[in-house]
Amino acid sequence: MINLTIDGIKTTVPEGSTILEAAAGIGIDIPTLCYHPDQTVTANCRICVCEVEGNHLLQPACSQPVSEGMNVKTRSPRVIEARRTILELILSHHPQDCLTCIRNKNCELQDLAEEYLIRDLPFEAKTRGLEKDTSTPSLFRDNDKCILCRRCIEACNVIQTVGALGIEKRGHESMVVPTLGGTLADSPCVMCGQCVHACPVGAIGEVENIDKLLAAIADPDKIVVTQIAPAVRLALGEEIGMETGALDMEVFVAGLRQVGFDYVLHTNFTADLTIMEEGSELLQRLAEGGTLPMFTSCSPGWVVFCETFFPDLLDHLSSCKSPQQMFGALVKTYWAEKMEIDPSRIVSVSIMPCIAKKFEAQRPEMNASGYRDVDIVLTTREVGKLLRMTGLDFGQLAPAKFDSWMGSYTGAGVIFGATGGVMEAALRTVYEIVTKRELENLNFEFARGFDGIKHAEIDLDGTVVKVAIAHSLAHARTLMEQVRAGECPYHFIEVMACPGGCIGGGGQPYTKANAKRIERIKAIYLEDEKMALRKSHDNPEVKILYEEFLHEPLGHKSHELLHTHYKAKPKKAL
C-alpha cells in the first residue's frame, strides 16, 4: 500500500494506482478528456496534469503511478494555468458553433470550458476548414471539431477491430481520418457507431433524421407509424433526466403520440416473429445438413462486418431479416391491410438504439412491401430530443396503450436488447418445439453477462446443440476466424456488434463506460421477469399473423417478406 497526500488530504492506496484513481477514491474529481475508463491510457490531452512536489514537470494524473510520500496538488495556480491554456489552445482551433452543434449541452469540451471559466481566446481562432464527411447514411464526421483525443480510434481498431479510423500526418496537421484518408464509405466502416460514444465532442455523430420526421408529421396526407426497439425504453429515461429503466413504457407511448406519431407499435413484436422464423431455420439446417454454424443476422453492423471481412462465410448468416426490417415489410402489407390504410400513405419509422439501422433501412433490397419498408430511422438520442421538445413532464403524463396487430410482445422479445438475449429467446422457443415440453426455468444464465464470448451445450432430449454468443466485433472476429479455419465447434451463434448488445448501441444516450451498459442489461432482464408472457411463440398477435397471413414459418409469404440475402462489400484497404 502507498501513502500519499492529495490537496492536503492523506490517503492510502494499492501500489500501481494512478493519481487519478487515488484522487477519485477520496472524492477529488480531476478533469480528463482523452482518458476513457474502458480504454488504454494515452495521456495525450494533458488536461489532467497535476503538480507533484519535487518535480518541475506537471504530471498527468491518468498515467502517473503514485509513490510513497507523494505530495500532489490537483488545483494549484500552475495547474489551473496549464489547464486553462490547454483549453484555450483547443478552443482556438475548434469551430465556435456550439449553438447548432449536435453535442450542444452534452459535450465534454463545453463542460470543461465552463468549469474552467474560459472567456477569451488569446490565440487567433481558426478551424482546419475541412469538408464534412456525409458519405454514409448513418454517420457524419466533422473533422474540424476533432480534438485528437484518439478515443474513437481505439473504439474502432481495438474494441471493434474494424480499423476504419487512423491518424494521418504529423503535428498540428495530424488528423483522425478514415482508413486510407478517403471518406467513411471508402473505409471498412460498419457504422456500429461505437466511435460516437467514444467521441467527447461533435466530431462524429449520427446522421439525424428529425427534420424528415417532423415534415412527415406535418404532412396531413401521411400516416406516421413507428416501431420501437427493445433496447430503447430503458435507456431513454437517461435522455430526459430519469434513471436508467425508470421511464414507463406506456408513458413513453403517450409521449410519442404527443410528438405526433399516428400509430405506435413495437419492434419486440417482430423480435418474437424473428424467433419463430429463425428458430425454424436453425432446426431446418440442423435436420437437413445446412450450413452451420448459423449466425444471427439482426445486428446490421455485424452483417456489414461479415460482408466486408468475411464475404466467403455469408452462407452462415441466417437469412432472416432483422426485426426492424421484418416490421417494415409487414407494416405496409399485413398491417395496412388489417387497418384498411393505403400503404402509399404510410411513413414507416423506427426508433432504434442503433445507427447502422439507418444504413440497413436504405439497403436496396429492403423494399419487399413494394415500398421502402422503413422510411426513417431515429436513434434513442433523437427521440430524446423530440420528447424534450414536447415540454412534457414525463413524471405526470398519463400512460397510453400500443396500437394493434403489431404492438404486443413477450419477455423474449424484450431481451433482444442485451447480449445473449436473442440466444435465450431462441432457446426458449426451440426447446419447446423440439422437446414438446414446457421449460421449467426460462432463464438461461450462461447467456447473460459481459463476457466477450459465452457458450454452452444445450441438450434437447438427446440432440445436443452447441451455442455461442459474442458481443463487440473483436469477439465476433475470433469466432469467424475459427469458422474460416474449420475449427468452430458451434451450431448456432448470436452476434451483437456493440459491446453489451443493443443496449450499448451507437444510437443510445452517450455511453462512456461499460458500467452503464451493465446497468442497462440489468434493467432489461428485470423487464423480462415482470412480463406475463415470456416466450415468443406465446405472442398472441404473432399467432394471428401466422394464422391469417404468413401461414407457417419459412413459408412462401415469409420468404418473400421476411428473409433476405447478403452481398460481399469489398473495400480497397483490405
Binding site: T42, R46, S92, I147, I167, K169
Partner: protein
C-alpha cells in the same frame, strides 16, 4: 588554453573504417574481451562510477540507466543505439559512425553483456543512408571474427522525424509505427522495445564505453568537470571562423570554444549570442561565455549542453528572425500527440511571426511567455518541453530586439 582530447574520436582519421583489422590493431575489442571476464554488476558499477552521463542531451548517468535494466528479470532485453541525430547544428554521431563504426559496436556489445541483452539495434536516421552499408559491413566483420558472441546487432533506418531522437518515440518507430513518444513511467529500461527492458544510448555515449572499461572509472571521472566528466564533441556552426568539430574535456569555457577552437568571429564581427545544445538550446549572451560546458555548470545560467552543437551568431543577426525559423522547425517536427505541443508549437510560430513582421504587441510577448511556461511543464515529451527555450532565453537576454519590432 582549450586543447582537444579525443576519446570518442580516438581513431578518427587514423584507421580505415572499412577494415576491422585497423580497429583491432589500435586496441579494438580488447575492452569487450575484458568486460566479458568481469562480473556484470561490477561492470555496471564501474560505468556508474565513471559518471559518464548521456551524450545525446538528456545527460542521465549511463551506468545508472544500465542498472535499471540489469535489475529486471526478462526473457529478452535490448540495447538500442540512438543514431537519430536530428538536432540542427549537430553532426558528431555521423563523424563517429563514418570514421570508427566499430567503437560503437564494441560499446553496444559491452552494454548488452552488462544488462543481459542479446539483441541490439542501431536506429540510424534516414538522412544518413550512406552510413547504412558501412555499419552493416562492420557488424558482419565483427560477427565473422566471432567477437560478438550471441549478441545479434541490426541496423534500422528512420525516415525524417526529429522527434524520433526521443527514446520512446524511437522505440515506437522501431516497432514499425508512427514515432510518437510514450508517457513515462514506465521507463525503457523497465519496459521498452516490445515491452521489454531496453537501454537506449547515444552514439557518443557508447563510443567512449570501451575506453572506460579499459582504462577504468577513475581515469574517466578525473577528466574535465567532475560533475560531468570526460570529453564532449562540439560541432560549431554559424558566424565562427572554424565551422568544425572538436572533442574537448568538459571544463573548457564557452569563450575558449568560440574564440580559440572556433578561431573567433567571421569577418571579425562582434559576437551577439551563441545557442548551445542544438535548436532547442538556450541563447547565451557574451557576458556568460565564461561558463564551462558541463551540463551542471550550464544549468546555473539556465542553459544546456545538449547535443554539443554550438551555433554562433554575430551582431548583424536578427535574433527574432532566427527564432522564427526555429519555431517553424518545432511546428514541423511536433509529432502531434499531445495538445500543448501540437497546438502550442503552431501558436508559438504564429506569435513570433506576428512580432517579426512588425504586427506584434506587448501582450503577444506576455502570451508567448505564458504559452512557453505551459508547454515546458505540461508537454508529454522533451520536444514540447524544450521547444520554447530559444524564445524564452532570447526574451530574457535580448528583450530589446523584440521590443524594437512591436507595433507603435
Amino acid at each position: 588554453m582549450a586543447v582537444e582530447m579525443r576519446i570518442a574520436l580516438r581513431n578518427y582519421g587514423k584507421i580505415d573504417p572499412n577494415q576491422i583489422e585497423d580497429y583491432i590493431s589500435r586496441g579494438g575489442y580488447e575492452a569487450l574481451k575484458k568486460a566479458l571476464t568481469m562480473d556484470r554488476a561490477e561492470l555496471i558499477d564501474q560505468v556508474k562510477k565513471s559518471n559518464l552521463r548521456g551524450r545525446g542531451g538528456a545527460s542521465f548517468n549511463c551506468g545508472q540507466k544500465w542498472s535499471f535494466a540489469y535489475n529486471v528479470e526478462a526473457d529478452q532485453k535490448y540495447v538500442i543505439c540512438n543514431a537519430d541525430e536530428g538536432e540542427p547544428g549537430t553532426y558528431k554521431d555521423r563523424l563517429i559512425m563514418k570514421n570508427d563504426p566499430h567503437t560503437l559496436i564494441e560499446g553496444m556489445a559491452i552494454a548488452a553483456y552488462a544488462v543481459g541483452a542479446t539483441e541490439g539495434i542501431i536506429y540510424l536516421r534516414g538522412e544518413y543512408p550512406q552510413l547504412t552499408g558501412l555499419l552493416r559491413q562492420a557488424v558482419d566483420q565483427a560477427e565473422t571474427k566471432e567477437l560478438l558472441g550471441n549478441f545479434k546487432l541490426s541496423v534500422h533506418v528512420g525516415a525524417g522525424a526529429y522527434v524520433c531522437g526521443e527514446e520512446t518515440a524511437l522505440i515506437e518507430s522501431l516497432e514499425g509505427k508512427r514515432g510518437e513518444p510514450r508517457f513515462k513511467p514506465p521507463y525503457p529500461p523497465v519496459s521498452g522495445f516490445w515491452g521489454k527492458p531496453t537501454i537506449v544510448n547515444n552514439v557518443e555515449t557508447l563510443a567512449v564505453i570501451p575506453e572506460i572499461v579499459l582504462k577504468g572509472a577513475d581515469w574517466f571521472s578525473s577528466i574535465g568537470d567532475p560533475e560531468f566528466p570526460g570529453t564532449k564533441i562540439l560541432t560549431l556552426s554559424g558566424d565562427v571562423k572554424n565551422r568544425d568539430f572538436f572533442e574537448v574535456p568538459t571544463n573548457v569555457t564557452l569563450r575558449e570554444v568560440v574564440f580559440e577552437l572556433g578561431g573567433g568571429m567571421r569577418g571579425d564581427k562582434k559576437l551577439k549570442a551563441i545557442q548551445v545544445g542544438g535548436t532547442s538550446g538556450t541563447f547565451i549572451p557574451e557576458s556568460q561565455l565564461d561558463t564551462t560546458i558541463g551540463c551542471t555548470k550550464m544549468s546555473v545560467i539556465g542553459a544546456t549542453l545538449g547535443s554539443g552543437a554550438v551555433f554562433v551568431l554575430d551582431e548583424s543577426r536578427d535574433l527574432v528572425d532566427v527564432n522564427l525559423q526555429i519555431t517553424k522547425f518545432f511546428e514541423h517536427e511536433s509529432c502531434g500527440k499531445c495538445t500543448p505541443c501540437r497546438e502550442g508549437t503552431m501558436r508559438m510560430r504564429e506569435l513570433v511571426e506576428k512580432v517579426n513582421s512588425g504586427q506584434g504587441e506587448a501582450s503577444d510577448l506576455d502570451l508567448i511567455t505564458k504559452l512557453a511556461r505551459v508547454m515546458s511543464t505540461a508537454s508529454l515529451c522533451g520536444l514540447g518541453q524544450t521547444a520554447t527555450a530559444p524564445v524564452t532565453s532570447t526574451l530574457r537576454h535580448f528583450s530589446a530586439e523584440y521590443a524594437a519590432k512591436l507595433k507603435e
